[in-house]
């Protein structure tokens, strides 16, 4: 380590007339964290898992095609919906969003991030961006491959609808998983799976007001509207979808994500971790 006086000329103590120290902006900090997290995701094990995620829906569709005969577009669409915006996005976000705080605590980097001017908020929002970008990219690749092998009459006509479902699923679920990640960081994965089951798949299928607060209702409703299935559905099934226009469905997901993210940020701002909780 250099211990000469050159340090003094290099790292000069800010004097009264010196420029103020950088405070940075939240946006710049968020982008810095997002880049940092994406670099962490570009590792061989993570890429291998992502490749499995890309291949899995196509493999399932190929297997299903062998067992079905005649026109099977409707079945393929339902399988695609269950596998990509629901299962794949959910799994991808569980892996990328849930450990947002726990990973930093275990690696001992939490303190070094939280001590930056916008560190806590940037960590959460930057990881959110990275998780959404990474998961959506994997899901879109999986969608392209699955559509290519789907055997549907005009498979690429379905691309815009499913791409939108993927985007909304990632947005809403990443924000949903942010909440347990900041409340119970060390048990975030278990808590998020619980939230996914209880909120998204139990409350989401209840024909009651509570399902209006779920992402799954909005995605199902968009799928039904996008496929034009509304009139063909039995009355009982109509209770499981929302008939409001597309913009309301999309707006509801964005609003829900915004509320969840703000709540998560406010909670994380106040979290204190004793030294014993850090790795």
């Amino acid at each position: 380590m250099t211990t000469t006086n050159t340090i003094g000329t290099m790292l000069q103590q800010p004097a009264d007339d010196a420029q103020p120290l950088p405070r940075g902006t939240l946006l710049a900090a968020v982008l810095a964290v997002a880049g940092f997290q994406l670099r962490r995701l570009f590792t061989l094990p993570r890429l291998a898992i992502a490749a499995l995620g890309v291949l899995f829906p196509a493999a399932v569709l190929l297997a299903v095609r062998k067992t079905l005969s005649g026109s099977m577009d409707g079945t393929v669409v339902v399988i695609l919906y269950a596998l990509i915006p629901e299962a794949l996005c959910m799994l991808g976000l569980l892996v990328t969003m849930c450990p947002v705080v726990a990973d930093e605590l275990e690696r001992g980097t939490w303190a070094h991030i939280a001590v930056r001017p916008h560190g806590r908020r940037a960590l959460l929002l930057g990881t959110f961006l990275a998780a959404v970008a990474w998961t959506a990219a994997v899901a879109i690749l999986a969608l392209c491959l699955a559509l290519a092998v789907s055997g549907m009459a005009h498979p690429w006509k379905r691309f815009p609808l499913f791409a939108a479902l993927v985007g909304l699923s990632c947005l809403g679920r990443a924000a949903l998983f942010a909440l347990p990640a900041v409340i119970v960081p060390k048990r975030a994965l278990v808590a998020s799976v619980g939230v996914a089951i209880v909120v998204e798949y139990l409350a989401g299928f209840l024909p009651a007001v509570v399902n209006q607060l779920t992402v799954s209702l909005r995605l199902r409703s968009l799928l039904v509207q996008g496929m034009g299935w509304g009139r063909q559905m039995p009355a009982g099934m109509q209770l499981l979808i929302d008939t409001n226009p597309v913009w309301i469905q999309c707006g509801a997901v964005v609003l829900l994500a915004g509320v969840l993210l703000v709540a998560s940020v406010l909670i994380l701002d106040r979290r204190q971790f004793p030294p014993s909780e850090e790795g």
């Binding site: 940075g24 303190a111 939280a114």
Partner: protein, 244 residues
């Protein structure tokens, strides 16, 4: 530059008991001053440093960094502070250059000055030869130097270091403490905690000894150690006196 006044930090333990980690600590560190924070394990050193670093909120009392209250203006306090922890917390997959750049961007260092700052830090911390090697393949000393560089990337006037030499060998400790002495000579306020009393005995301007969350003694080496005594003797006397 660093002021702590009647600082109290209580935790509620898992069994519901109130743990008085810090119980009315007061001291100050001026510009161009290096102060050693000494104490046994569990004395409250790390909690005090973490309150200063805005990682923990005080139960009561005041902590300020360059005039910024850590509760009322935490962002202001963070801008003025560099923090080094006992665990280096350096991401294994990133290189020293990437780590310094990432944390510089996170801190809001302007893009046009960041590259120069990073190169200067790599040079002054003797990390040029391993600047592009993943941190997971660096020695403990190199990792700690990356951690110090990360704390200095925004050129803060105050530095808080929590047992920075605990992972270093004697050479690494000597070099780091000499480096800190240079930072002090630039006018920075430096507060560091350590268990290695002999390392800082002749380096620090003053010492604060805390025991059981309270200040047991503070002052210059001569004031703490007494006439002809060593810092270690002064430390034991202060702590044993508190116990008695």
């Amino acid at each position: 530059m660093i002021e702590v006044l009647d600082l109290v930090k209580h935790y509620t333990a898992a069994d519901g008991q109130i743990v008085r980690a810090v119980d009315g600590v007061s001291f100050a560190v001026g510009p161009g001053e290096m102060v050693g924070l000494l104490g046994a394990n569990g004395a409250g050193k790390t909690t005090t440093l973490r309150v200063l670093a805005t990682l923990l909120r005080p139960t009561s009392g005041t902590a300020r960094v360059a005039g910024c209250d850590v509760v009322l203006d935490p962002v202001g306090a963070r801008c003025q502070l560099g923090y080094v922890s006992a665990t280096t917390g350096v991401p294994d997959r990133l290189t020293p250059r990437e780590i310094l750049q990432s944390f510089g961007r996170l801190h809001g260092v302007a893009a046009e000055t960041l590259d120069d700052r990073v190169e200067q830090l790599l040079g002054v911390l003797d990390l040029v030869s391993c600047a592009d090697r993943p941190a997971g393949r660096l020695s403990s000393g190199q990792r700690q130097r990356v951690s110090v560089g990360r704390a200095l990337v925004h050129n803060p006037p105050a530095l808080v270091l929590d047992e920075p030499t605990s992972v270093l060998d004697v050479f690494g400790s000597r070099d780091l403490l000499a480096f800190l002495a240079n930072l002090r000579s630039e006018g920075r306020a430096i507060l560091l905690s350590t268990h290695r009393l002999h390392e800082i005995e002749n380096r620090c301007d003053r010492f604060v000894i805390i025991h059981g969350g309270r200040v047991a003694a503070q002052g210059t080496r001569a004031q703490v150690a007494g006439p002809g005594g060593s810092l270690e003797q002064g430390f034991f006397a202060a702590v044993e006196g508190t116990r008695a």
